[in-house]
Amino acid sequence: MKKLAAIVLIPLFLIGCSSEQTIQVAGITTDEEKRAEIESLIRDKKDVYTGTAIMAEDEVLIAIQVNPWVGFKEQKVEKELQKEIEEKYPELNVLVSSDFKMHWETQKLLEEEDEKKVTDEVKKLKDLAKEET
């Protein structure tokens, strides 16, 4: 019984406690420099453990997941990041979201090749994120 518990629990602890950040940025038309810049901005936020940025034309959607321990600060982190990116690139239409739905959808968009489809999808997701009820 104890052995079983150990087998089940140890991987959980290992996964749960890993401080590795996974930051992925995708954008076919945007230049490499911008992508790297945004990636480093997200990476600077220590509380973020997964960040996925989708860039399509002027639209940028960044989905972040914060560490469960600071779950309550989720929206604060979200706002800070949004502000930073907006200041740096006022010409871009940015939305940073900590919503799990955004994370899920952006993960799928990473693989998408069709530029137009990505743009439409990003616009749709942004509308969804603003929905209140």
Partner: protein, 151 residues
């Protein structure tokens, strides 16, 4: 025999409430119920256009619906007898309180029976829930305007 002497005899012969065991059972069942709720939230988010924010309402509705079915089948009573607070504290417990009272009132008709009895148990939950939410918000508003915390 005076009352004090009797109290002693009574206590010696009454089995103690197994608080630790009850807590563990409540923790386990309550946790399972919440895990099911979380799974439903994810299902809504993955298969439908719900976000973290909007999936909450749909999940609560679904959980209350499940609790309603279980109450009607007489299964929630058995779960409650085992889990105690574990099944009473999640929103399913609220659903159970509403539905069980409504079923019981059925024999007195729809208006006075079902309508009048429905919130017999859950009514105080609503009252004190709304009341305490108001006061907590008020405290936070005061703290924010004093500059102690941010929204």
């Amino acid at each position: 025999m005076d009352p004090q002497e009797y109290q002693q005899i009574e206590q010696q012969n009454t089995p103690p409430t197994p608080y630790l065991k009850n807590c563990l059972k409540a923790f386990l069942v309550g946790g399972i119920i919440c895990a099911i709720g979380q799974a439903i939230t994810f299902l809504y988010m993955i298969f439908f256009d719900f976000t973290d924010k909007t999936a909450g309402n749909a999940t609560v509705a679904t959980m209350v619906f499940i609790a309603m079915i279980l109450t009607g089948l007489g299964l929630y009573r058995k779960l409650g007898a085992f889990a105690g607070a574990g099944s009473a504290v999640p929103v399913t417990g609220f659903g159970n309180a509403v539905v069980s009272a409504a079923i019981e009132g059925k024999t007195e008709g729809w208006v006075l029976g079902v309508g009048g009895n429905m919130f017999k148990l859950a009514g105080s939950v609503i009252l004190f829930g709304v009341g305490s939410a108001f006061f907590i918000a008020l405290i936070k508003l005061i703290l924010v305007s004093m500059g102690v915390v941010e929204w």
